[in-house]
């Protein structure tokens, strides 16, 4: 059962690593605004441009259906 020493130490180290990551991520300010990222996530990246609407052969942007 001496393995307990190893297990406890490893689990504590992992816990501390997560704790440090927690501190770092709060410090970076990404949690200051909780509302906007949720909305931003739902936007489409591609646009329906005028070229892509008129000429389907255009290689600029793939038309992505909005809605």
């Amino acid at each position: 059962m001496n393995i307990i020493f190893l297990m406890i130490s490893v689990s504590i180290i992992i816990a501390i690593v997560f704790f440090i990551l927690f501190i770092k991520s709060v410090r970076s300010g990404q949690y200051d605004d909780l509302h906007t990222p949720a909305v931003r996530m739902l936007f489409d990246d591609e646009f329906i441009t005028k070229e892509s609407q008129k000429t389907p052969k255009s290689k600029s942007i793939k038309p992505i259906q909005n809605k």
Binding site: D33, H35, K50
Partner: protein, 787 residues
Amino acid sequence: MLKNSCYHCGNDCDSNPIYKEDKPFCCNGCKTVYEILHENDLACYYDFEQSPGKIPEEIKGKYNYLNDVKIVEKLYDFVDNEISVITFYIPHIHCSSCIWVLENLDRLNKSIISSQVNFPKKEVRITFNNSKVNLKQVVELLSSIGYEPFISLDDTVNKGKVDRSLIYKVGVAGFAFGNIMLLSFPEYFQSNEFWLERYKPLFRVIIFIMSLPVVFYAATDYFVSAYKGLKHKILNIDVPIVLGIIVLFLRSTYEIAFDVGQGYFDSLSGFVFFLLLGKLFQEQTYSFLSFERDYKSYFPIAVTKIIENTSEKSISVYDIEKGDRLLIRNNELIPVDGILITGFGQIDYSFVTGESMPVSKESGDKLFAGGKQLSGAIEMEVLQTVSQSYLTQLWSNDIFKKESSYGIKNLTDSISKRFTIIVLLIAFISGIYWYFIDVGMVANVVTAVLIIACPCALALSAPFALGNMLRILGKQKLYLKNTGVIEDLSKIDQVIFDKTGTITTNKTKITFKGSALTKLDNTLIKSVLRASNHPLSRMLYEHLVEDPILKVTNFKEELGKGIEGDIEGNYIKLGSSDYVGGIEKNTLQTVIFVSINHDIKGKFVFDNTYREGVTSLFSDLQKSFELSILTGDNEGEKKYLESHLPKGTHFIFNQKPEDKLNYIKQLQRAGKKVLMIGDGLNDAGALAQSDVGIALSENINVFSPASDGIIDARQFTLIPRFIKLSQQTMKVIKISFVLSFLYNFIGMLFAVTGNLSPIVAAILMPLSSISIVIFVTIMTNILANKK
């Protein structure tokens, strides 16, 4: 008649919508924004929400001051040779379409590198290439799509860094709590296993080490607060908390050092964790509002100074000197006291003095800071600098500097005093008792009493009840500054209202008194009105329904008196009683007399419209509170008010801002608790002096004076209900105090009889905390939903 609503902003298009690609628009402004977005492939703007736009405003020349580097350098977040980063507050941000279009600004102007929206704060942070586009162009671009930023003097003040220490502390306490609980589990079960005994010391050491940051970092706020309280000879709630923490820590350290037991570290860290959670929950802030606004957020940063009679230059408001000549454009604010030199002054002082109608000023008249110029541009000469002007002097009143006195401010603190004393008494008595029975047990029992008496549940009742109620009120559009306001609100017995803008809306009602006017008469009147820029003329113009198609000749406007003109042989005169040739002397109401062909037909009377529900609101409130109306306006409305509002309401007119403040001071000296509801700068002193000051606002994104709370004008009639809710919340808190005393009592039974063990403490403490929190949250939600 088809009711068309504008595709862009949703307003009614009235009788003549403008069409483009089969979509109706209410005006050219909206149509232009649509075109801009469409040209740049941003038409998806309209896909997220219905009519998300706003009519863009006229901004010609308004942002010239942004070209001056010195004026704007304080606005930037970051500047170097290529990139500038600036954060704007844009009040119109209200939906996902706004976020979408503002984050795609780079499609409208390639020199904008990126932009990010912070929706709760209604801010957008724009990074742009400053060698290709300048700040003024960025602002003009934003305005052209209807997202004009609100830039005021307040933006030049450095705001300071974000404080996240509470989150860190909760993180530390939570981390420690979870791990310590886990590591404590083996010892709860007291089995005499060999391996358990071998590793017990290791576990205990680890637990001890993990509890150190909890006591010395996470709990520091409580130590500081308890120390401050004791210094002022007050036993606030933090004193028993700190007592509990210290005893817990010392006893547990002793126990593991001398191998007496496993200690109470799990209860300690859990205790600190729950308390900090309560604090976090209580700290709800509305980041898009500010309760601290003073004149600086109302004033512009810069004004236009006229040099040598011809050239104009933008200067910062702080650089204005006596004797300077300033150009104030339409809808701009007068920043300093001065004299009008040229132009027609029509100044709206409603925000500053509470006068409901604009004041006309002629060349040579004195102008006071804070008014908004309504009809065209004027030139003025400066008499006082910004800090010396009448308006800013208002803020040097002592009431704004007063730091809140230190004392028992809330219910929890007042209970804690008795609580601490009783606990200490019990500890003392049981110590004496056990001294005679079994001396060895004394330390055990005394410390056990102090541990179990830890006011966890007591300290959590108020934060969770008030925090939840704060959120509930916020959902119902009453935004309070902090939880303490709810308690203050529950104690009031006097309610004072401002008149202009608070119980009246800024829409004016026009009624005609006299011999009935024919359609032709109205057409004649409206045609003459068309040529005048006077705000009253414009209001009357909108009010009359007929089309102003007739041509006017010999149009004349005499400032302060009236207008006249000839139409097809008819001679029309509109204006004051004297001007029109009448004899009526009424100085209190705002009227326009009408005479056609030297025959006085009657007068148009301009009345404030009172908000819907004022009468029922007042009769509701009258049942439990004393009411008063304090206003800066004259007595013209006295009869109307007396007839519509319940008897016993006090009316006091012609109040200057200091008068309002003093009236409230008087009431407070008589022991009354005052709630003041106002809307403008002229109420700022009164709002600060009263026990609770609430600012009423038609559009909460726009300036409101410093207050304890902001209420949306549409929820005006719910004020009695809000007061009742706060009273009921306090009752819920009192009930939960009783419940937490019950837990303490049970715990005491264990402690006094010497039966307190770590497992009992570890069960009792979280159980009491969680059950109190659930109880309080459910009760406040029930109260809020009850109709």
